[in-house]
Amino acid sequence: MQVIDILEKIKGEILTKKSTNQTFDDIYAGDLLSHVMAHAKENNLFLTIMANMNAIAVASLLDMKVIVFAEDVKPTLEMISKADDEGIMLITSPYNVVEIIRKVYEI
């Protein structure tokens, strides 16, 4: 899927430099990082409320290129800069995790 196709649906705001031609395969939603490490897959969109450096580290280690923070959670400038260095797109959305999944898959 293309980020550009879901951005409006989830009222997403891109916080990093990366352009909207970024793609992803399916969504992995979770906050406990050991579960994310064990179960998320390469190129998943990582949907979370966990806005700290460790979320960026986990996304980077698993080659997830897009993180969407639900419920208006905003990453710090340091996180945004780290994500830019790692080539990871950060997006914030006002909706909660379930609403975001519903809107992306139109269910």
Binding site: L33, A38, M53, A57, V58, L61, L62
Partner: protein
């Protein structure tokens, strides 16, 4: 790229946790190691690094890469794991509030490391814990 290296890991330095695993991942990418192997190394080293950060008084990580495997050893200065069998059980956690705030404390770390590794050796006393893991490239 060096085939061996040693890093210091500070206790409760949650902002920098992940630097060691990130470095090792990049080293393996540069060596052309297969993606699925790199993923297993990344999982094991990240979880082990986090364990030193959130559970120990601080420690070190040493890695050694040769043609067919990587060995990574984590040592810390205590306080040790009281019951290793219990600590490995999924869901068992002694993580404190601050670690939980950062998304840790699922109680999955040691099992994730064990599942990702080809050999897994964990020894512990109140003076410190040593985790010695090997992941084969083939």
């Amino acid at each position: 790229m060096e085939n061996t290296g040693k890093f210091q890991i500070e206790a409760m330095d949650l902002e920098n946790a992940g630097n060691v695993s990130s470095f090792i991942k990049k080293t393996l990418i540069n060596k052309g190691i297969a993606k699925n192997i790199i993923k297993r190394v990344s999982i094991a080293v990240y979880e082990a690094e986090i364990n030193v950060v959130i559970h120990s008084y601080g420690g070190w990580c040493t890695y050694m890469i040769d043609d067919d495997k990587i060995r990574v050893v984590f040592e810390d200065t205590g306080p040790g794991i009281e019951d290793i069998e219990q600590a490995i059980q999924p869901g068992f956690s002694t993580a404190n509030t601050q670690a939980i705030y950062y998304g840790f404390g699922a109680g999955m770390g040691l099992m994730n490391i064990k599942n990702a590794s080809d050999t897994f050796n964990l020894t512990s006393s109140p003076k410190g814990t040593i985790l010695d893991i090997v992941i084969n490239f083939n």
